[in-house]
Point group: C2
Chain length 108, copies 2
DNA sequence: TGGTTACGCTACATTATTTGTAGCGTCAAG
DNA sequence: CTTGACGCTACAAATAATGTAGCGTAACCA
């Protein structure tokens, strides 16, 4: 079920965009999909493989939500970030940097 | 069930920290908990309320995972970020900024 | 034209995760 | 010695995700 606007999303009780965002990103696979799209467009089936065989049901559901919210778009080249989505995608790199540091500190 | 190290976590098949991180943050409520802790420590019950009545079962499970990974700690003042966790928490503010822009563009 | 391939999905039964409610044991204050 | 807040645990019910199968479409190419 496509979501028409941000105010109809789960997590939007307060009407605060951050809540909608956290709720969306907090669904399993959403962050992973954003990560996999970080440097090039991928088709539906490429995404399935990259994500380690996420079920098509879930993948489709996440892609639809990301499209409804104009974070990604779909054309002949596959799925890719929108201009706005790319700014969010850039945060993925920050998370990657942080996680490296984190992993090395956890080993101590 | 406490997780001893990063290599035992779901999402760690590749051994890449970013996968463990994305998997953890991708569980429902994890990002929200990080958000709620952004400017002060909160007790278990305060977190329950702030998160809009998340179930204690889930809250405890998330808090345990975040503690196992040394992203938060728990003392007499309540739950709060560790030094490393604070750097991850700082990303929450970035997400908040992004979401404001996002919401205004979606309205067009 | 007919066969093969990749595409983006949908259907649906099984399994895993999350929820909601109730309540327990500990501790400190009054 | 009662009251309140604390951090939880138990467990049945509801919701979300999974895995497998396969559909309809379109492009390629023999």
């Amino acid at each position: 079920m496509p979501v028409k606007n941000i105010n109809q999303a789960r997590g939007s009780a307060t009407g605060r965009p951050i809540m909608v965002l956290l709720d969306m990103l907090g669904k399993r696979w959403t962050l992973r999909i954003m990560w996999e799209l970080r440097d090039r467009p991928l088709t539906f089936r490429e995404l399935q493989k990259q994500c380690g065989d996420i079920s098509p049901t879930t993948l489709n559901s996440r892609l639809r939500e990301l499209r409804d919210f104009e974070i990604i778009s779909h054309d002949t080249g596959g799925y890719s970030y929108t201009a706005l989505g790319a700014e969010l995608g850039a945060q993925m790199t920050k998370l990657d940097n942080w996680s490296s540091k984190w992993a090395s500190e956890l080993d101590n």
